[in-house]
Symmetry: C2
């Protein structure tokens, strides 16, 4: 792995280490269950061990890293059962957000959702699962954002961080995009119709489908 660290700035070292490490885990550069030795990371990022340590503590409470006393840190592996439990929480929280978004969103924002829906339809028609997966993620992020529910947004972003690895597997499954597309379009339609209850139901139906898919 290349030493991409800055020339040892000395300024805001911890934040630098935190950002780099989080990105590395989220982008899958670190293998699951890989050991995270403080000294190695410190050298790799060009900061001191104390900064790495602080970053690891923070990542632990984000659920990305697992720390055991006197034993060290590992990239946390999320089992399928945990992924299901996490998605159940996403289900109700995103349902809350969708309901609020149906009420709170501006007309311009609703147009953005419509545009996203068309882009997703096109991606599926063109058979581009990666593009579709990106748009999918973007759609959910937009709905969260439009809800204005900052607490829920915070919780959801944390939960999503723990699912990076599972999301990949799901997107590439054959036939999956077709099924999920109609669910997504239903979410968009109900929000645009400014119907909170229907929007919540649509989001929950969609994520219930994701849970089924996770279980294979």
């Amino acid at each position: 792995m290349p030493n991409q660290a800055r020339p040892s700035t000395g300024e805001q070292a911890r934040q630098h280490a935190l950002a780099r490490l989080r990105q590395a885990i989220l982008h899958g550069e670190m293998a699951p269950a890989q050991r995270l030795v403080e000294n190695e990371l410190a050298e790799q990022f060009g900061v001191t061990r104390a900064s790495v340590r602080a970053a690891l503590i923070e990542l632990e409470s984000e659920g990305l890293v697992e720390r055991i006393r006197n034993r060290g840190s590992r990239v946390r592996v999320v089992t399928v059962e945990e992924a299901v439990a996490i998605t159940e929480c996403r289900m109700v929280l995103e349902g809350l957000c969708a309901g609020k978004a149906a009420v709170e969103a501006s007309d311009e924002q609703l147009d953005q959702l419509a545009a996203l829906g068309e882009a997703m339809s096109k991606a599926v028609a063109d058979g581009e699962p990666v593009t579709y997966s990106d748009l999918n993620h973007e759609l959910h992020a937009h709905i969260r954002q439009f809800s204005g529910q900052q607490v829920a947004v915070g919780l959801l972003e944390r939960l999503n961080g723990q699912l990076v690895r599972h999301r990949f597997q799901l997107a590439l499954r054959p036939g999956r995009p077709q099924k999920s597309l109609s669910e997504h379009l239903a979410m968009i339609d109900t929000i645009r119709a400014r119907d909170p209850q229907a929007a919540e139901a649509a989001v929950r139906a969609h994520l219930a489908g994701v849970i089924d898919a996770l279980r294979e």
Copy 2:
């Protein structure tokens, strides 16, 4: 404040500091918005500053303290708006738990809920709001626990930690226990009837009531 620190164990200092500090905040020993100076806390708890620092970083991501670069830490103050937003999240997450508890709980556990319900009725009849508040808290904790949904439990415990100060105010409001009691009994009944949808609805109705009360 008495120096309740151990005679400087040297072992697991950070965990000690973390526990003491969290307890102090949760028990209201620290005034809202009080400054938390690392040196003072270190001396108070009989640990080094690094341990206090680690504890503060962890408490920050729990939402109990607020940290600003080069400016220090404060006990985080939760505005009424935030308390409402937090309770909205609690509403959907506890709804999820109640639905699962209605399916997963054992018969013995359902009996525990029934017993709690009777105790709560008695506390209201006897006009003991503090006892009632404790039982209230206990009931919610039991339902969470019986759901077996560890992820939701984790999120809820964190959210509840941020509400300590608001909970007090709510419990002592005249007339509040009477209204909330019937809602709680409905929650218990629907779970004992093993009706997930009704249980979820009952919990959400109850917490919607709490939100109304929070808004005064």
